[in-house]
Amino acid sequence: MVMQYELKTMYKFEVEDLNAWFGSKQVLKNIRMKIRDRKVTAIIGPSGCGKTTLLRCLNRMHETTPNARVSGKVFFNGINIYDEDVDPVQIRRKMGMIFQKPNPFPMMSIYDNVAIGLRLNGVKDRKKLDSIVERCLRMVGLWEEVKDELNASGVSLSGGQQQRLCIARALAVEPEVILMDEPTSALDPISAAKIEMLIRNLAKDYTVVIVTHNMQQAARVSDYTAFLYLGELVEYGPTKQIFEKPRNELTEKYITGSFG
């Protein structure tokens, strides 16, 4: 019993023997890792190493691509989300996901973009919606910029603003986890810096897992870092240790820029 209590507070995810495939190509091999609650965990590695797939296995998005397959276990709050009686729709609701390119819904207003998750869940109370939309837009620092044009289309914003809008959209359904797939790769440096600050802030209330190809970014924003190479977890530990005293030769080579 004591053990279980510990599990719940320290670890949000426990990944056990996770394998993933695209068709016949195996992209993840026997991944085992534990992801801590209310910390930022970065997943780094050269492109094609499976880092995005690992992230997408955490909320069962991987299986939505054609020909994709998964085996193994991912415990979320102590429940294996790949259990047969678990509904992936309800699992995804507890995790917000941010994608490489901002993907607001272009046919909806800014307001509706943030409110959509709540509306799907049957929230119709206008006052409640108003207050949550405002709170989420404030959290991502967009409220002051857009409060007078909440009815404008989501795509009328700049790229950085769009990405923050997407984060607000994810926050509105009150998730426990934010999964980010290279959230700044399509943005200019100033917008990227704003997002990075936001990530640090989010870690106070949420578990954040971020995939990035930018090692400086991993070093700046994360508490823990996992290094993935050819579908295998090579090294995983506190960010400071990974960047300053890597135990594995491969990690060191990657960090110092000899390949990748």
Binding site: N59, M61, T64, R92, R93, F99, F105, M108
Partner: protein, 321 residues
């Protein structure tokens, strides 16, 4: 003009080569399409000139078609008949087509989708006249003996569904047209659904949406494309000739007594009476019906193409972002 000058210059200098010749030839053929379209409008106006002069705008709003005694012609009931049968076709055919489009783009596995789109395209390949044949000998007896009495016993209190049942008639024509527009509407909606970027689906799936809620996002993204598909289907239904002629009953009347009653459409009257038209004004009036049909379907088609084009451009714009 500039082009002409360019070639003239080249010819003078002996620089006119095979490439220029080829370009000129292919330009000529491409222009011939525009020429043909223009000529079509001109010929139809010329052919209906007698009728236009005689009846003027009354041709569109009048309700008399009497080739035997008074030799007067006007087409409002035909226009109404065309619109009514087409709208019935849309009401029945569009939900089915959008369902098939969603199935092909969102639900069905790829291999299965290939088979389904082959079957649906087969439906498009069946000649109109075979729909008519099937309509006369298979569908009409079924409707007369089974479906229509049942509908009448349930909804007979409405004037739309009261009155004698012949089997053929307005509703029958609408049903046949619905079947005939399913291939075009479903394949265009499949195309516009698959054009919706994956990132849109992922965004809403990751928010915890069910499959159907994901489909709703896809449909709202593709709405102008869907409208385009529907209007394209409308265009087909408006111009459909033989199948309708064979099942609608071909009676010129201002309004039918119910949906089970016989009526007429613009296309049907041309097919049914053209070879029997014995004097010039009669032929000219039928050609003018064709002209009206041409104008209506030009407008409908241009509208549909613009909508689909806008939707595809919209997709490209968002994806490049």
């Amino acid at each position: 003009m500039a082009l002409k000058k360019y070639y003239f210059h080249k010819i003078l200098n002996g620089e006119f080569k095979g490439d220029d010749m080829f370009k000129l030839v292919s330009n000529f053929f491409a222009l011939s399409i525009l020429l043909i379209t223009g000529l079509m409008v001109y010929e139809l106006v010329k052919g209906s000139w007698l009728s236009i002069q005689r009846f003027g705008p009354w041709f569109i709003v009048g309700t008399v078609w009497d080739p035997v005694f008074t030799q007067t012609f006007s087409t409002l009931p035909l226009i109404l008949g065309t619109l009514t049968t087409s709208l019935i076709a849309l009401a029945i055919g569009v939900p089915i087509s959008i369902g098939v489009g969603l199935l092909l783009s969102e639900y069905a596995p790829k291999r299965f989708a290939w088979l389904v789109s082959f079957l649906v395209e087969l439906l498009a390949a069946i000649p109109s006249v075979i729909y008519g044949l099937w309509g006369i000998f298979i569908l009409i007896p079924f409707l007369r003996h089974n479906a229509y009495p049942f509908i009448q016993s349930a909804l007979g209190f409405l004037p739309l569904f009261s009155g004698p049942i012949y089997g053929g008639g307005v509703l029958t024509a609408g049903i046949v047209l619905a079947i005939m527009i399913i291939p075009i509407v479903s394949s265009v909606s499949r195309d516009v659904f698959t054009a919706v970027p994956r990132s849109q689906r992922e965004a809403v799936i990751s928010l915890g949406a069910t499959k159907w809620e994901t489909c709703k996002i896809v449909m709202s993204y593709a709405r102008s494309g869907i409208i385009g598909a529907i209007i394209l289907g409308l265009g087909r239904a408006i111009g459909e000739t033989m199948a309708v002629t064979m099942v609608i009953g071909n009676k010129f009347k201002i309004l039918p007594s119910s949906l089970f009653d016989a009526w007429y459409t613009m296309a049907a009257i041309i097919a049914n009476e053209f070879t029997e038209a014995t004097y010039d004004l009669y032929v000219s009036a039928l050609i003018e019906v064709g002209l009206v049909l041409l104008m209506v379907s030009l407008i409908v088609n241009i509208l549909a193409r613009l909508l689909i084009w806008r939707m595809m451009k919209f997709v490209r714009g968002v994806v490049q972002e």
